[in-house]
Symmetry: C3
Subunit: 350 residues, 3 copies
């Protein structure tokens, strides 16, 4: 069990990779990226907030990713860049890539008829694929993935163990689906009839764009007729529920335990913080930001930030919250006013 | 990969199926049901809201499901019925049935001792059944379903991939359990002891009535001693948590991410909107309706609609919300009153 | 299908087991523990609240677990103990132990290279273990468990079906992980770049102490660099989300659907009621109690109980809630005051 030989990276190359300015020795070499306090001389590190200046000065790291403002006064090797956090993301991808999986189908995998599986794709132990499934180049289906009939999995997509795709689900290029995620389960549609609930069959599909990430045990329901869609680069956290017929734009962020009800549309760049939700049949415009635990019960214009249950513009919600804290005091002041007025009213009649 | 031959259905038969009045040619035939804008002459469609009248008039569909009110003025083939949405549900079931699974046990399935599996039941790849499991006629256990010892699965029930039933779970006739649903996990019971938490073993079971549907990755805990029960025709959405000892009546609806805490009882026809929850040991009467993200913290009488955290009657919650929006203004008005009274109080003394 | 022979337990031994005082026949024998109304003469039962006195008197149980206060006036065999609920937990564990699983690896399990699996450990059907996995004495991995490379599973731990451990997850002694739980999935970290979201690779791990319980379909994300940790004796319910870098202390309780955002720290003995959440980068002190559906948006000092969205001290939240209910009335009173002042102001000038 020997550790693999580490690749070494020149600081000059890393600076170029992130479009940063190197202040220091371009030939110095590192093998990984670590936080300030755990980095050693073989690591690059990052300094993203003034409060960490003492740690930045004390760090044993070979060099720091830092913006121009925080770089001032530091007398060590630096890669100065506009957005150090983005640079961290880029360098982690470069220095710590996901271990590659070899192409090939595990002998225990059960593969249906007329499937098209790229030779470079990896199909893990006990995976079960239905009929007419297509799997693109370099895609990875880990152990115990279950894929229904007629699904498409784009090149470079990664499906962690236990992912379930119902029939005809379409997963775009380089998507990442975490363990236990379920895509394409029936939308929640029923018609009431004399104390019973009659199921409305769900004929549509789920369709993900490229580089979509879906968190562990999250669920995305298939549409009633057409497609529940999630746009390119949208990232969804764990235990999120996306209802049937929902349309989500590009580059959105849905944090943990968010719920989007049926037929609601989200524009591009929308952010839902944790445990927030949206009612059904709403339009949520581009760039809308929704605070944690907010319930969006009516449509929201592009660019607006909202909070509260039911949601109101964030500044209004903050005023409500501040006022709510003063409410008990307000009740006392009101009662005092009433007493004063009761006492004073008689005066003019004196 | 040839498409299967489509069955064709007479409009006259479909009208009879939904108890509707056919206005048009009973011999006309359709092969499916589609929304107004995507239906072709081989489809039936539906028109359920006046705002869609232009689409209803323009649709290429062979005929429309519609109620008497919306039917007025339409000069095309119609099936006029009391509840068109329910008719849609009925006809989708008829025209687009779930593909049948052949009876039989996949050679990779692991079956315990003394199981009774109907010949018409389907047991998928890598399913694992414990001892003494009974599976009824036509039941479908998809790939990777895991069933504990002593479970009972009723005729016609469908368990999608990755469903887990702990020991002795009882699933009624024609239930549908979506992927990743877990039934019978231990109730959350612990006794505190000097900084530790001691587990209270959970000896009971989970018992579902008939035609219960459980959404993807939802969880239902086993009772401490007796049974956590879910009544006939109750429908539960994705990522819903049902605690131990809970009793849920017939025909209830629990939307996505709802949570029902231990030992709470729901009557018949109760509706919880998304992300709502109920505390433990409550009685929620028949027909209670709970708004989205509501926290029900005390018992609710039958027929009442509630909202808010903590829940109050819905009309009261709406008044609270409206008043809350006026709260900052109210604070200003109160301060103004105080200033006026401060200024005016001296007057009588002048 | 014969029932196993029941073990019989002397009341005297059971009293000693729970540190209680036996009032009655130490030689009397029981075979199980049941609630008051379903216990027979072969069972011990428990009486924990005065409202159940009639049932306690009528119960057919051989003996009752009861505290000194409730014991007064009862003329039957009793085991009097300080905390009867804790005694119930202890005796259920003793009288109704989880059925033992035989040691050994199911022939269908797929085991990676250089694994160390104790001979007494049980590896179920279709389990898949990566390379260098260590499994301790008596640990149970039920069917369909998937374990990544380099994971460690402590002695006596139980992993129910469909548990997924990503690479290098560490599970302590006697932990219980319920079906569908996912440990070690990527933390939710992305850097925005021109409408895209760039993934921040997550290099850390998840580490559980001893006797940690994780509910069905709950998710715990791996840290960015170090470890997401959950302390000894902490119990987590179903569908709970724990974000990356979170540090949870000992003996905490997280109820169903709770969410803890990234990098937040919980002290020891913290309790989150159902559907509550905490924002990221917070410090939640020892013994903090968080009410249901509360959103903790700032750090909380040790020992404080909080409620509301955003969270405030519980007593303050209760005052807010009470005041909120009076808000519509308050608005009316304010308007009345304004009218009175408007009418009265002219008076002194008369």
């Amino acid at each position: 069990m020997s550790a693999p030989t580490r690749t070494l990276y020149r600081l000059g190359d890393l600076a170029a990779e992130v479009g940063g300015e190197l202040r220091g020795d371009p030939e110095r070499r590192v093998q990984g990226l670590r936080p300030l306090d755990s980095a050693g001389p073989e690591h690059i590190s990052f300094f993203t907030h003034p409060r960490y200046r003492p740690q930045a000065e004390a760090s044993r790291a070979a060099a720091l990713l830092v913006d121009a403002e925080n770089a001032a006064g530091l007398t060590r090797d630096l890669i100065v860049c506009r957005d150090p956090y983005r640079a961290v993301a880029r360098l982690l991808q470069r220095l710590h890539p996901r271990p590659a999986r070899p192409g090939g189908v595990h002998p225990t995998a059960v593969i249906g008829r007329e499937c098209e599986i790229a030779a470079s794709a990896h199909i893990g132990a006990y995976a079960v694929l239905g009929d007419r499934v297509r799997v693109g180049d370099g895609a990875v289906l880990e152990a115990h993935v279950v894929v229904g009939d007629g699904c498409t999995i784009g090149p470079g997509a990664v499906l962690y163990p236990k992912v379930v795709l119902y029939d005809r689900t379409e997963v775009g290029e380089s998507c990442v689906l975490h363990a236990g995620a379920v895509l394409g389960s029936d939308g929640f549609g029923f018609a009431a009839e004399e104390g019973r609930q009659i199921k409305v069959p769900q004929l549509g599909i789920v369709k993900l764009g490229r580089e979509v990430e879906i968190g562990a045990n999250s669920t995305v329901d298939r549409a009633t007729f057409e497609a529940t869609t999630i746009g390119d680069f949208t990232k969804i956290d764990n235990l999120v529920q996306v209802g049937h017929n929902v349309q989500i734009g590009r580059g959105c962020i849905l944090c943990g335990q968010v719920g989007i009800s049926g037929s609601t549309r989200l524009g591009d760049g929308v952010v839902f913080a944790g445990q927030a939700g949206a009612a059904n049949h709403l339009d949520i415009g581009d760039g809308v930001r929704v605070a944690a635990q907010t319930a969006v019960l009516s449509s929201v214009e592009s660019g607006v930030a909202v909070g509260g249950t039911p949601a109101v513009p964030l500044s209004e919600w903050r005023r409500q919250v501040a006022a709510l804290r003063r409410l008990p005091e307000l009740l006392r002041r009101l009662a005092r006013l009433e007493r004063r007025l009761d006492a004073g009213e008689g005066q003019p009649e004196r």
